[in-house]
Structures are given as C-alpha cells and as structure tokens.
C-alpha cells in the first residue's frame, strides 16, 4: 500500500478547473440586510406590490428564526449575515433580443464553463438539445430556445420575468411546496431572492428537450439566492438539469437557493443536479456554503418526481431534496452521489413523506469521503397514518478513502401505518486493496483503478442522469478525488 500512497500523493490536489473570475460589469447593493435592502431588490426588479409584501413577510419571519446549527453534522464559523451582499447583477441593456446583445465577456464565461450558448442556439429543434437559462450572481442573463418551447405552450424563463408575465402562476405555486416559514434559509431566500428559473409545462405536453439552468456566483462577497419553480401540469413531462460553479475565492460565499416542484396528475419531473461550487482549497480555505431547500410535491395521483444529484463542490453542503407523496400511487426517487475531499463537509440526503395510498419511494445514496472531509447522509422516510401500502427502499453506501475522513449515516424512519413496508440498508467500506491489485495486474495504474472502481460504485446514480451530464459527472468525480489516498 505504501507505494500506492506515494503514487497518489504525487498527484497533489488538482486545480479547481472552474476557478476563473469573469470581468463583467456588475451592479451591487451595499452589504447587509434590512427591510430597505429587501425593498431595493424588489424595486430593482420592478416587482408588483404582492411580491414585495411576500418578501417583507418572509424577512420579518426570518428575523425570528434560528440558524439550524444543532442537528447537522457540520462545523463552521459564525456567518455574519450583515456582511453579505444580497444583490449583484451584471449590468445589462434593458432587454436582450438575441445572444448578440449579451456581454461578450459573459459569453466567454459560458464558453469556459463548457456550454456554448451560441452552439446551443444553432442546434434548434433537435431532440437531444438542451434549453438553457443562465443565472449569474442571482440574475438570469439569457434563456435560450424560448421561442421553440413557446410553440408547445411551455413557459421557460427567468423567475423575474415570470413574476411580470405570469403572476397568476407564480402567486398560485410559489411557497406552496416550500413556505417561507419552512426553515431559516428558505425564509432568507424568500426575502432576498434575486432571480432564478421558472418553468411551466402545460397539460399533456412532453417537453421535447432537456431544460437547464447554469448557476454561477461571480462577484466577491455576494450571496446567491436563486429561486426555481417548476410546474408540470397533468400528463406533462420534463427533465430539468442544474449546474453550478463559482470562482476560487479566499472567503466563504453563501448560496441559499429554493427549488419547488409541483407535479400534477400523471405528470413526471426529473430534476438532475451537478453541483460543483468552489469547494475551498486543499487547506480548507474559502469555498461556498451551500444551504439549499429543494422540495417537490406529487400533488395528485400517479405523479412522479425524481431527484438525481452529483455533489462534488462546496465547502459545506446542507441539502435534502425531498418529495411529498400526496397523490395516490405517486412515486418519489432520490439518487445521490456526494463526494467530499480535503476539508469539505456535506450533510445531505432526502425526505420522503408518504401521505397518499400505494405511494412508493426509492433512495439510493452513495457517499465518498476522502482527505479530512466529513460526509453525512441524513434522510427521513415518513409513512403517515392512512398511507396504505406505502413502500420505501433505501440503500445508503459510504466509501472511505484514507483514514482521516468520516462517513456517517443518519436515517430517520417514522412509520404510522401498519401496511407500510420500509427497508433501509447501509454499508460502509473502503476500496478493496485486492480490487486495486486486480486492476494493476491487468495493466491499470492505481489512480485509474480508483476512478474505475468509484465510477462503478456510483453507477446506479449515474445511470439516472442524461447522457451529457453523466459524462460530465464522471469526469468531475475523477477530478474531485485526485490526490486522495487509495
């Protein structure tokens, strides 16, 4: 083993690939949070009164709340919420009619991120295409393919635009799954969110392409508080992708997003995330604090919501994408790969709340801990009284790489109906030396062998991702684990 370690140690932590800052003109609010800032954000966005009222209510409630510090398996210094900039927008012309009008620096940023909006635009109409809403420092800068989608009645736009153009939908659904009273960070988000994506799939429509949002924090000292709302009306289907990056910075940046999904009768929403916020350097300096509330509701019968996440970034991850299974026969799924290296900490998992009859949920969680990181799975499976014949299967595996990291499993199982069948399994292990040796003997070096074995370990989750994302996720995993011990 000694030799293997040497080989690995030669590969000192690889540079965070997305760590460039973009030189984009931005317009920012002064740091700190009070009612004036909330009003400033709302005014900047030219919001109607009801939206401002909602924000203010949320803000007032937030002030009465406590940061959730006692139960997550996370350690981090006090966050001074008055030191954060709550609004930073790239300066832009009033309206953009085509990509040509977008700041060229910004376009270059996206090129570096590996998504060329230009290219996307050219490939109109092809099935495998992805429509992208790009959100930089909380403001949606450009949504592609809008016209193509509009033909089918699909609304895919920035959240601010939805507030202006589709207030009835926003009013009806916003806060219906994650009320601002839900938790500290959802309250904060509800008060100060600046933008995000909005998506509505009308009855009977199968969205012909993947919808995607790329999030990026750019300005120093800013928090990003985006808000996403996805509604799939009866018999509708949509697959939604979310990617995140941030530049390397010494200080910790706060990201507190809210994602709400509503799935109506016979509708299905697939939500995939590849989260690669800056994780901090190899000594644990800097990195994004990722406190995210994601929840979907299967509102009526036969609806389905599926979360898939590949979490490799962030200094701290606090995230539990959940499904409320209200409709009879509804289905909730959660597939997760969470990788922590160096000094990263993750406390992530899901909540499946069974209310309707014959509801089913599946949880597959694969945690990988390396370096001096701590990786926790925390999940709740709740079967309410009257949720007849509810089923849950959970599998939570942890892989440890090196002897300085931690892998933890905190499942909560609450069952109030006798017809429920709930199974939970969890294992913790390390990569087998004999597996690595077997690969070596076939000519594969240790680093590659670890990559192979780890990707094999995560396969059940990667299989859930759309092809392009799966490839990206595998690469990301390899980069994240470079330099970790075998």
């Amino acid at each position: 083993m000694a030799e293997q370690k040497d080989i690995l140690e030669e590969h000192i932590f690889s540079e965070y690939k997305y760590g460039f800052t973009s030189d984009i003109d931005t317009e920012t609010a002064p740091p700190g949070l009070n009612e004036d800032i909330v009003r400033f954000i709302s005014a900047k966005k030219n919001e109607p009164e009801w939206m401002l009222e909602y924000r203010l209510k949320a803000f007032r409630h937030w002030k009465t709340m406590e940061e959730p510090r006692h139960w997550p398996h996370l350690k981090y210094p006090e966050i001074n919420f008055q030191n954060i900039i709550y609004y930073a927008a790239p300066k832009q012309k009033a309206t953009l009619n085509s990509l040509d009008e977008v700041d060229p620096e910004l376009l270059a940023t996206f090129e570096k991120l590996g998504i060329s909006l230009e290219e996307q635009k050219r490939l109109t109409g092809v099935q495998s295409n992805i429509a992208i809403d790009a959100v930089i420092d909380s403001v949606s800068v450009k949504t592609t393919f809008k016209e193509v989608l509009a033909e089918k009645g699909i609304i895919f736009c920035s959240f601010s635009e939805a507030v202006q153009e589709h207030p009835e939908l926003v009013k009806k659904y916003m806060g219906s799954v994650v009320p601002y009273t839900d938790n500290f960070y959802s309250a904060l988000n509800s008060a100060v969110f600046s933008d995000g994506s909005f998506c509505y799939i009308p009855k009977g429509v199968r969205c012909p392409m993947e919808l995607s949002t790329y999030f990026r924090i750019n300005t120093s000292g800013t928090g990003q508080f985006e808000r996403t709302l996805i509604i799939a009306d009866e018999h509708a289907y949509v697959s939604y992708l979310e990617g995140c990056t941030a530049p390397m910075r010494d200080e910790n940046q706060l990201h507190a997003a809210v994602v709400e999904i509503v799935s109506h009768k016979n509708a299905e929403v697939k939500y995939s995330t590849v989260q690669n916020w800056y994780p901090g350097d190899k000594n644990g300096k800097g990195g994004v604090y990722n406190f995210v509330t994601k929840r979907g509701i299967c509102l009526e019968e036969n609806s389905k919501i599926s979360w898939t996440q590949v979490e490799t970034g962030s200094a701290i991850t606090w995230k539990y994408p959940s499904v409320i299974l209200k409709g009879d026969n509804s289905v909730g799924e959660f597939y997760s790969v969470a990788v922590t290296n160096n000094f990263q900490q993750a406390d992530t998992g899901t909540k499946m709340t069974h209310i309707g009859k014959n509801t089913r949920s599946t949880i597959i969680s694969k945690g990988i801990s390396a370096g001096q990181s701590n990786n926790s799975y925390r999940g709740l499976v709740r079967i309410n009284k009257g949720a007849k014949n509810a089923r849950n299967f959970s599998q939570c595996d942890s892989l440890l790489m090196g002897s300085k990291c931690g892998a933890h499993t905190f499942p909560y199982i609450e069952i109030k109906d006798k017809s429920a069948v709930v199974e939970h399994e969890a294992t913790t292990s390390k990569i087998g030396e004999d597996q690595i040796f077997y690969c070596n003997q076939r000519g594969i070096d240790t680093e590659k062998a670890i990559g192979l074995i780890v990707n094999g370990y995560c396969k059940e989750v990667f299989n859930q991702l759309p092809m392009e994302f799966a490839v990206e996720a595998q690469k990301l995993l390899a980069v994240s684990l470079e330099g970790s011990v075998g």
């Binding site: 499993t409 069952i415 006798k418 199974e423 399994e425």
Partner: protein
C-alpha cells in the same frame, strides 16, 4: 408552554437537591461528584424534543407532575412470586432502591465475590468504587445520568475477582412501591475482573402502584480483560411505571459482553445502552425485543463506541407494536479513528399490528476509520401475508397462524438467551402477551 414547564421542572429538581443531599451517603468523594452532577444537570435540563437524542421521547411531559425523591415507604410482600420458575440463581433484592439483605439469598455464592449495597461499598471498598463510580456513565453526556448521579441513594455493588467464574446467574429483583409520586434513582456498579465470568438477570416489579413513579436508573458495568459477561434485563411491569434506564458498560481487551433487553410491558420505557470498547479484540452483542400495546412507549437507544481496533459488535432489535403503542429504536455505531478492522452490524426489525401504532427507527453510523466493515439494516412491515396464507391453507386458524409467525419473528432474539430457565420463562410471557 413547554419552555416554562421545562425550566420549572428542571429548576425544581436542582433546588430540591439541596435538601435531599443531606440524606445521601456522606463521603467527600461522592459529595464532590454529586455536586458536579447536579451542576451538569442544571446546565442540560430535562431535554426538549429538539434535542436529537430525545426527538421521539417526550420526557418533559413525564416531569409535569411533582415528585418526591425519597421513598420512606416499606411495602410488605413475599419475594417468591417474583422469582423465575426453575431458575437456579443467587438472588439479590432491592426494595425502593435499597439493598435488602434479608430478602436476598446468596448462600452458595463464592465468598470472594463481593455483593453489597452501593452505600456500604463507598465505605468498605472506597478505592475500587472510586476507580469506577461515575467513570463510565458520563454526567455531561446526558441529563438523566447527571440527575441519577446527583440523587442516587443506593443500589447494588458487585465485584467478581480476577479468574473467578460465577457458575450460577445472579438474579437482581427490583421492587418498588410508593404512596406518593416518586422519582427513584437506583444506581448499580458491577466490576468483573480479568478472566472472570458472570451472568446477571435483572427484573423489575412494582407493588400496589396507584401513583406516578419515575425510575431513573444508572448501571455501570466494567468488563475486565478477557472476561465474559452476560446481562439480561427483563421489563415486565404495570402500566403506571415510567422508566429511564441507562446501562453504561466498558469493555477491556479480549472481553465478551452480551446484553439482552426484553421489554414486555411498562407504561413508558426509555432504555439507554452505552457500550465502550476500550481494548482490542472485544466482542459485544446487543439484543433486544419489545412488545408494546395500549399506549405503551418503548424506546431503545444504543450506542456502541468502537475505540480500539479489531473489535466486533452485533445488534439485533425486534419490536412488535399493537394498539396505540409507540416504539423507538435509535442505534448508533461510532467508530473512532483508531478503531481499524472494526466489524459492526446493526439490525432493527419491526412489525406493526395496528393502524394506530407507530415505530420510529434511527439506525446511525458515524465512522472515522477506513478499514472497517459496518452495516445496518432496518425494516418495518406487516406480518408476511404469503406466509399467513400458506399456514391457513394448511388448516391453521388466522389467529394461531399470526401467533406462530410472530413467535418465529422474535425467535432469533430469544435464541441468544443462554439461560434456559429464563428463555422458557420469557417464551411463556410472550405467549401470554400475544394472546
């Protein structure tokens, strides 16, 4: 509302201590610890449900009423009805926490084995007691350990010398009775020496209980190097009893420690079982079984702390819940950085028989060493309907078929009970309970 109650109940317990402590055994060592313990309790308070360890246990509700801390009441009874049929054992009886020499029978016990009231042990074996008392149950870790440590008036002290095999089990019978609402705080300490062997069976009984009592007990067990200890705890009491029990065991290298916690009845029961594996090559088995109905509350919390390499722990808990009962299993396996080559396994299986019953399970792994094999599983379901149908097709009535399947469900836990008379006794009790 609740915050007000919390403060008042906790504060009352703190202020009552000043008066009660004068009645407690005098000894500067113990006094010192008691003082620290009440301070620790004052800091912790009666836990609210927001405390992760008490998420499902509404302990604040238990303390809504006032309780006296000293029971002067001495009930009249004969011990015979509390004996286990056919169990050839040394008998120790505690009445309202106090060791009763006349009711106990230890005639054939090896003279080198020490059995004494804890109160006396403070005087007679200060060195040994001071070495272990309050060293294994940490007052800063839990409010009820702190509360017990402050208030404990008596309990039992057992010391098995090195290389001594106690052939027959020791059966400890705890009898309580009270005329007014009482908080009992029994405290036990068992020290088992190197290469020694001991089996303990602990049972509980209450006499004519019409008032509310809470028994907040703490037992510390020291399992010496290469020692073999089996500890059986049988809770089969009336519905008025409310128990918060903590057993904290420390194992030294090469030792084996097996526990069985069987809860067949009791109004409100919280069992905390903490095992620290302090030496290499230890083995520990934690088995548990609970049958609850009516509005019973049965909560089993286990913590296995793997501190050293090459140890193995194995947990199997099974619960059957009927009526409006609530069951909790909260198991934690903790593997510390040095505990390489750990093998730890945990399983919690439950059957709900009624739509009003609830089970909450929280099997946790907290792992800081990489070369380990740890796993847990939890499953909850109803009685296997295919099996039920199969038995019916073979002519069994639905009720007897159900009973048969429930017996089969608990059988693997029953089989870990190695004292035959005890196993038979429990099988009878379970049989009756399932009727």
């Amino acid at each position: 509302m609740t915050t007000v109650e919390k403060i008042s109940a906790s504060e009352k317990l703190v202020s009552d201590f000043e008066a009660v402590k004068k009645t407690l055994p005098e000894n500067s060592f113990v006094q010192n610890i008691r003082q620290k313990a009440i301070e620790a309790f004052a800091k912790l308070g009666i836990p609210a449900r927001k405390n992760e360890e008490y998420k499902y246990s509404n302990v604040q509700k238990l303390f809504q009423e006032d309780f006296t801390q000293s029971a002067i009441y001495n009930p009249q009874f004969t011990i015979d009805k509390y004996l286990i049929p056919n169990l050839d054992a040394h008998i120790i009886v505690l009445v309202n926490d106090f060791y009763s020499e006349e009711l106990s029978s230890l005639e054939n016990l090896d003279k080198t084995v020490v059995v004494s009231s804890l109160k006396k042990a403070f005087e007679k074996y200060p060195e040994l007691v001071e070495k272990h008392f309050s060293k294994h149950a940490d007052i800063s870790s839990d409010a009820f350990i702190a509360l017990n440590t402050a208030y404990a008036a008596d309990g039992i002290f057992i010391k098995v010398p090195d290389n001594t095999v106690v052939e027959k089990p020791i059966h400890i019978i705890n009898v309580i009775s009270a005329k007014e609402n009482t908080l009992f705080s029994p405290r036990n300490l068992f020290v088992i020496g190197k290469n020694a062997q001991l089996q303990i069976v602990e049972t509980f009984a209450s006499i004519d209980l019409t008032v509310n009592v809470i028994s907040n007990s703490v037992t510390e067990i020291v399992v010496g190097e290469n020692a073999r200890v089996q500890y059986y705890r049988v809770q089969n009491e009336n519905e008025n009893s409310q128990h918060i029990n903590t057993v904290s065991a420390s194992q030294e290298k090469n030792s084996h420690f097996d526990t069985n916690t069987v809860t067949l009845s009791g109004g409100w029961v919280r069992n905390n079982l903490n095992i620290a594996l302090n030496g290499e090559n230890c083995e520990t088995h934690l088995n548990g079984l609970f049958l609850a109905n009516a509005t019973n509350y049965v909560d089993n919390h286990t913590l296995v702390d793997h501190r050293m390499p090459h140890c193995e722990s194995n947990q199997t808990y099974k619960g059957i819940l009927d009526g409006k009962a609530t069951g909790v299993f909260n198991g934690k396996i903790f593997v510390q950085r040095d505990a390489q080559k750990t093998n730890a396994y945990q399983s919690s299986k439950n059957i709900l028989l009624s739509d009003d019953a609830t089970i909450n399970a929280k099997p946790q792994l907290e792992i800081y060493a990489d070369d380990v094999k740890c796993s847990h599983g939890s499953s909850t379901g109803k009685i296997d309907e295919d099996a039920l149908f199969y038995l019916q097709a073979r002519g069994l009535g639905i009720e007897s078929a159900k009973k048969l399947l429930l017996h089969a469900f608990v059988n693997d836990v029953m089989q870990t009970i190695r004292i035959e008379a005890l196993r038979e006794h429990l099988e009878n009790l379970i049989h009756k309970k399932l009727d």
